[in-house]
Subunit: 431 residues, 2 copies
């Protein structure tokens, strides 16, 4: 497509949505991508770059001249511009910012000064704010005359003289109201505001909970500085759930376009941690080498106890991690939840104890062996339930993301308890 230069590319892109063009860009070879953008020149909409994967975006931005990027970024809504700039190296970012006119640069810089993943980074600084004493007609005229409006907005914000948001008016209300009516009589009074330094996840919870389409962002002095829009929040919600899934499986922030070396390195740490866990479990087994020597059946059966504990614990842990993330699990219901999980552990522990006890007794024609594995199963599944909650809740309390660290701790517990209970009981009762 992009091999031989053409204005036909322009025709191709003109009618397409930025997400579709982004797909096109991703399918090109790495060195064709910046070429593609330069071929399009001014007709390239930099909003496309917000839709490509992070690593691809960084490669493209590094390859493009900073003047072109500065020009492209200027035309964007401020939230898209920040999204593109925030992951760049400090000096590249400065170089691009230097080529943007003062006023716009100041706004972008203010957004970039807020912490990473904060509402301030995601907000749009183009917005419409009116005083409460304006009437509907004046507001509409103001919107007709002003040409510096955002492309899309669904609500206007009502502010007091110190620029504090005091209410908001949905556009449909505005449309349905006669011109002479005062804004203050139609505004929704308690407006949901978000502090600019608030974590974007917290902001997302607010949107989800109250079904917001946009929310006013305020600074430390409660003054309006921007607006968060639902579409940015949709991405945050998506990312957040994604982070939990990845965290639980020990895959970091990787993308399917990453190279194999990068991927291998990023997964190495997690596997190394798991190796330590596995060796720990082997040390426990090693304590009972004399017992194993005498009865090889124990070696054959022991992974069953550990594996069932691991799976039961993972079920509990997953529910706990998600409930913590979505703020469903808190002070008032935590006791109920802990009791339930322990009961679940005991009930399923007993059921599987009966099953495996029977299987083992028949397999090795040894009823005592069946009794030992059954008892070990109950112990391990009870511990799995207990630690399946205790670990994520504990990590959450000390401020560590439970999704990222819980799995390793849990496997350690279920392996160690599983092998120890089974082989320990066997040593006492069967030897």
């Amino acid at each position: 497509v992009a091999r031989d230069d053409a204005g036909e590319l322009r025709a191709l892109c003109l009618e397409r949505h930025e997400a579709d063009i982004a797909d096109l860009v991703e399918q090109l070879e790495p060195d064709e991508r910046p070429k593609f953008i330069q071929l399009l020149g001014e007709d390239f909409d930099y909003a496309v770059l917000t839709e490509v994967e992070d690593t691809i975006r960084e490669q493209i931005l590094e390859a493009l001249p900073s003047a072109a990027v500065a020009e492209g970024v200027r035309d964007l809504e401020s939230d898209d511009a920040v999204y593109i700039l925030e992951d760049l190296e400090e000096d590249e970012q400065q170089e691009i910012l230097a080529q943007i006119p003062d006023f716009e640069r100041a706004l972008l810089k203010r957004s970039l000064d807020y912490p990473e993943d904060s509402a301030g980074r995601r907000m749009q600084t183009d917005l419409i704010a009116v005083p409460p004493f304006w009437n509907v007609g004046r507001t509409i005229d103001y919107m007709r005359d002003s040409d510096d409006l955002p492309d899309e907005f669904y609500e206007i914000i009502v502010v007091d003289p110190s620029f504090k948001p005091i209410g908001k008016v949905a556009l449909n209300t505005l449309l349905r109201t006669k011109r002479p009516v005062l804004i203050e009589t139609i505004m929704d009074a308690p407006v949901h505001t978000v502090r600019a330094d608030l974590d974007q996840e917290e902001a997302a919870h607010l949107f989800e909970r109250y079904n917001l389409v946009s929310a006013a962002v305020v600074d430390d002095h409660e003054r309006l500085v921007g607006v968060l829009m639902f579409d940015d929040i949709v991405d945050v919600i998506q990312e957040e759930a994604e982070e939990d899934i990845r965290g639980l499986a020990g895959v970091g922030d990787e993308e399917i376009s990453d190279t194999f070396l990068y991927t291998a390195r990023s997964r190495f740490t997690w596997l190394l941690l798991n190796l330590v866990t596995a060796v720990l479990a082997s040390l426990v087994i090693g304590m009972f080498d004399a017992t194993l020597q005498q009865m090889v059946a124990l070696a054959i059966l022991m992974p069953i106890v550990a594996s069932m504990g691991g799976n039961a614990g993972t079920q509990t842990m997953t529910v706990a991690v998600r409930a913590l993330a979505s703020r469903e699990l808190g002070g008032y219901n935590i006791r109920r939840f802990v009791t339930r999980e322990m009961l679940v552990g005991i009930v399923n522990g007993f059921l599987f104890a009966i099953i495996i006890g029977f299987v083992a007794s028949v397999w090795f024609t040894n009823i005592q062996l069946g009794a030992v594995i059954a008892t070990a199963m109950i112990v391990n599944m009870f511990c799995a339930g207990l630690f399946g909650i205790a670990i994520p809740v504990g990590l959450d309390k000390i401020g560590v993301d439970p999704a990222i660290a819980s799995t390793v701790f849990l496997t350690t517990v279920t392996d160690v308890v599983g092998f120890f209970a089974f082989l320990g009981l066997a040593t006492i009762l069967l030897m």
Copy 2:
């Protein structure tokens, strides 16, 4: 709170958002909940019920008289009404519908006739549609005069005489345009439509991809039947990611308010499947009982190989499952992805082979044993990478949700290959 009757409850709820009242309802004892709603009577906003957990909602609806529910549901937006009614038993649903006036009932029934989790179930049937030859002024007057409008809307849909959507106009565009301008000159022409029987997940992808605030829903004849709003879609996106996390861990559609017996039963099947897997792995170990008898070190080390394979495989599988769910992994990049994962498996396989080979050699002062475990590690981590993709992609191809079934298959493979490779090599080389 709700023990002694009072109009003070009314005052409490009047100013609060439905999500906050829902929290309140959830914190009450089960038998207090319907009482609370009946105390509030007409002041209870049934939209609150869309915000409580599924099981709690069902309990409440069963306890309330159907006339009260019918009355409450009538006042809701159609999507909320459907959401409340869809999970009820057939006969209860009929009983409630029978008490709703004809026209509204017909609309609700049409929505309920669409398949579960389809766009038709989530759509709102109150909407604003205008012909292209109206001008802005007439459209605004129409909106001012009509009192059957939805509470919230952000776009109006432009339809042709057969009621097919041909474009849409954002409210802000409408506000900024002079009254005599024709709608057809300001409308956005290619409108994203969603078929009513489309799965809600597919609809969510469309919203996400194109940052839509709403989308027109059409029937088999491309005629407009409703509108999907972004807030319903936010819930779908959330649910979908949630489903994947839960599927991978083997927890079904449970909620933290479920009873322990219900929870234990719903997790039992998954654990039973895992038991079968674990027994299968034990059978493999059992093939080598003579070898184990002679060398107890093998029993001590063997869980390491299986566990590392399991973890490496889970990493690959998780990335694959999410990439499939978000449509990032498709025809054109699947080969690249498979190659990458196999290379990752080989690279990390070699690294961990060196580490564990060294550890085992020193621990048991047996270099051959180190060599055996190192080789088994490479084999198992390579297989883990291979099957970590093959399983989810294969399941996806045959139409099974990869999130739900992949884990069991993968563990079976990594356990069987791990034990077989390690003990098999040991039997050949060390005996």
